[in-house]
């Protein structure tokens, strides 16, 4: 066996033939050609890069600029520089830490629900069944509904304590209908947002599950792994990269959810996220300086979350 196997290795250790001297000038020409091409490529990409950079840098700079100013549009406008006053006031407000907590609870809750249900739905949709194509489209449908619309539909048609569908269900079992948005406000928001994002998670995970080699599952079956263990040892590790992608992308969007809160609780009953708090500072209190300082905190929070996520799940992205 050993001799059989060492053959290709021997072949590999042979040095590749040195390039002939005559071919070197040609190679140099070729090199300069690619250098030209690289310069041209940079020039041609420049407009897009500059546009994107400006798109990011201008708002960021303006936010930083306003965060050091006392700027009250309806009460005297620009009232001059105030140093770190806005930052101190934003953090020392009694609404700050609860808003950070609400943000993290909502993001975490939605992530947990969408990933768990997404994996289960993806497995279900991967089974051969009658009408699979139609079911797949139906599952993806919620993603096409605008956040404002879906939140309003949930609020008025499902969660309304008098006429909502859920109230009728509760009454059918003889229970007192739940006043969802008051008594279980955070859970309601999580429910609505999860409903919107579940299709996204399902879609990504479904494509990942379709790329799983069926022979691997059969091998595990022959190796004596029952279905639950096949899922735990074969399917789930196969999905780890897709789950990472889902978690990272969803986090980016979930940190900034706004419409769902705006049309339901308006930030009351513990659903005031950092995004919503900033909105209130800028538009309801008409204090642009204070809101901008909040914006900078939001950037910091997003980065802390990102660092944690990359630590936990980022290694899954390596091939």
């Amino acid at each position: 066996m050993a001799t059989q196997h060492s053959q290709p290795a021997d072949r590999l250790t042979m040095a590749p033939p040195a390039p002939e001297p005559a071919s070197q000038p040609a190679a140099a020409d070729h090199q300069s050609g690619t250098k030209h091409a690289r310069t041209a490529a940079r020039l041609m990409m420049a407009p897009a890069v500059i546009l994107l950079l400006g798109w990011m840098l201008v708002p960021l700079t303006m936010t930083l600029y306003f965060s050091f100013k006392k700027f009250l549009p309806l009460r005297g406008g620009d009232l001059g520089w105030v140093g770190f006053d806005n930052y101190v006031r934003f953090v020392s407000s009694s609404a700050f830490w609860p808003s950070v907590q609400a943000t993290l609870v909502i993001v975490g809750g939605v992530l947990a629900i969408t990933v768990v249900l997404g994996v289960l739905l993806a497995i279900l949709l991967n089974q051969p069944m009658w009408g699979r194509g139609v079911v797949r489209i139906l599952v993806i449908a919620p993603f096409f509904v605008m956040p404002t619309v879906s939140a309003l539909v949930w609020k008025n048609m499902f969660m309304d304590p008098v006429n909502g569908l859920l109230a009728h269900v509760w009454r059918a079992f003889g229970a007192e209908p739940l006043v969802w948005l008051t008594e279980a406000s955070t859970q309601s928001i999580i429910l609505i947002v999860s409903w919107q994002w579940l299709p996204f998670a399902t879609l990504i995970l479904l494509t990942a599950i379709q790329s799983l080699d069926s022979e691997q599952l059969e091998a595990a079956e022959m190796d004596g792994a029952p279905p639950v263990k096949r899922f735990a040892y074969i399917t789930l590790p196969h999905l780890s990269r897709a789950i990472t992608v889902v978690v990272l992308i969803q986090t980016i969007f979930l940190l900034s959810i706004f419409a769902e809160i705006f049309v339901t609780t308006q930030g009351a009953f513990g659903t005031k996220t950092l995004t919503y708090l900033i909105f209130q500072r800028v538009l309801e209190s008409q204090n642009i300086g204070l809101g901008s300082a909040g914006g900078v905190y939001a950037i910091i929070l997003a980065n802390i979350v990102a660092i944690f996520l990359m630590r936990i799940v980022g290694k899954n992205l390596d091939a």
Partner: protein, 334 residues
């Protein structure tokens, strides 16, 4: 022990019957090769034995026990897949340990068997690597290792060498044969390559469209093929078939003569024709001869030194004692 008996086993997918009722016995310790052209149902037959497909009717017995409805894991068989089906996120060690972990084998015993398998298969240096970092031949060995540690009553191989390059294939072929000599366990091996079948098998099962055409040792199949299909499938290059007047002389509808059983000469012989292509392999030379009036092409094997070229007229004499005779249905006339 690993005696496998198929009793009137059939398989249908919907309305399509891929395997009509079929009987077959594989004795303990035998190296059996299922061979046939692609789509002949040989892989399906293997999957039926493995339990990955349910039989439509009939009975599968392993060691006299009815195993027809026993789940695959409980049949005591191990399978090596065409794609190797290694678990990509586990190290080689964990891959090999997986079936034992599922069977709750004690850890010391697991380690002992892993070491033994790794030694036997030259994998000791690779135990901590992932399958993605291994070459095709090494992956193949890991797949075999994963099968060995289960100490199965029979090994099932589903075209295990078809993803390897030609040189490696010859090497792995020898390794699997050696493994069989050492373990003396029943092995069932599926391939479409008749060379693999001839070189490795104790018993060859030739299949066509789900039907067993012939069962026998490699040389039995070579010397006394039961019909034209087996005669054409076993042996390389393919047997020449001649119909018409020449066949009638021997009292048959068709006669078959292998390329290696025809003498070539530049001066005189029974048949003559013009060389169309000559393939020089060094040890042998194959001539494809046209214009013989017998068949479109007659293939002849001659010694490597014989140097006829394209366009040369040559004379051929078949060895009379090895002419195979077939009737109008293609069956052998004794």
């Amino acid at each position: 022990m690993g005696r496998i008996t198929l009793d009137k086993v059939s398989k249908s997918f919907g309305d399509v019957q891929v395997i009509p009722p079929l009987d077959l016995t594989i004795d303990d310790g035998e190296f059996t090769v299922f061979v046939g052209p692609s789509g002949c149902g040989k892989s399906t037959l293997l999957r039926l034995i493995a339990g990955l497909e349910d039989v439509t009717s009939g009975q599968i017995r392993i060691d006299k026990q009815d195993a027809t409805h026993v789940p695959p894991a409980k049949r005591g068989l191990a399978m090596v897949f065409q794609s190797y089906a290694l678990y990509p996120h586990m190290s080689v060690r964990k891959n090999i340990a997986f079936p034992m972990k599922m069977a709750k084998v004690p850890v010391e015993e697991q380690n002992r068997r892993i070491e033994a398998a790794a030694n036997a298969l030259n994998l000791t240096d690779y135990l901590d690597r992932r399958p993605g970092q291994l070459s095709g031949g090494q992956r193949q060995r890991v797949a075999i290792g994963r099968a060995i540690v289960r100490e199965p009553s029979a090994f099932l191989f589903d075209e295990p060498l078809s993803n390897l390059d030609a040189a490696l294939r010859v090497g792995m072929r020898l390794e699997i044969s050696e493994l069989h000599e050492r373990l003396e366990t029943t092995m069932i091996y599926v391939t479409h390559d008749q060379v693999e079948a001839m070189t490795m098998a104790d018993k060859i099962v030739v299949l066509q469209a789900g039907v067993i055409e012939q069962v026998g040792s490699p040389l039995e199949l070579y010397h006394t093929p039961r019909n034209k299909f087996v005669a054409g499938f076993i042996g390389s290059p393919k047997m020449n078939f001649i119909e018409g007047k020449e066949a009638a002389k021997h009292g048959a509808h068709t006669i078959g003569i292998r390329p290696e059983h025809i003498e070539v000469s530049g001066e005189a012989g029974t048949w003559s024709g013009v060389v169309s292509v000559s393939e020089h392999l060094g040890s042998d030379t194959f001539f494809h001869v046209h214009g013989t009036g017998l068949a479109e092409t007659i293939t002849v094997r001659a010694d490597g030194e014989v140097g006829f070229r394209h366009g040369d007229r040559i004379f051929m004499t078949p060895r009379a004692d090895v002419i195979h005779k077939f009737d109008a249905e293609g069956l052998r006339i004794a």
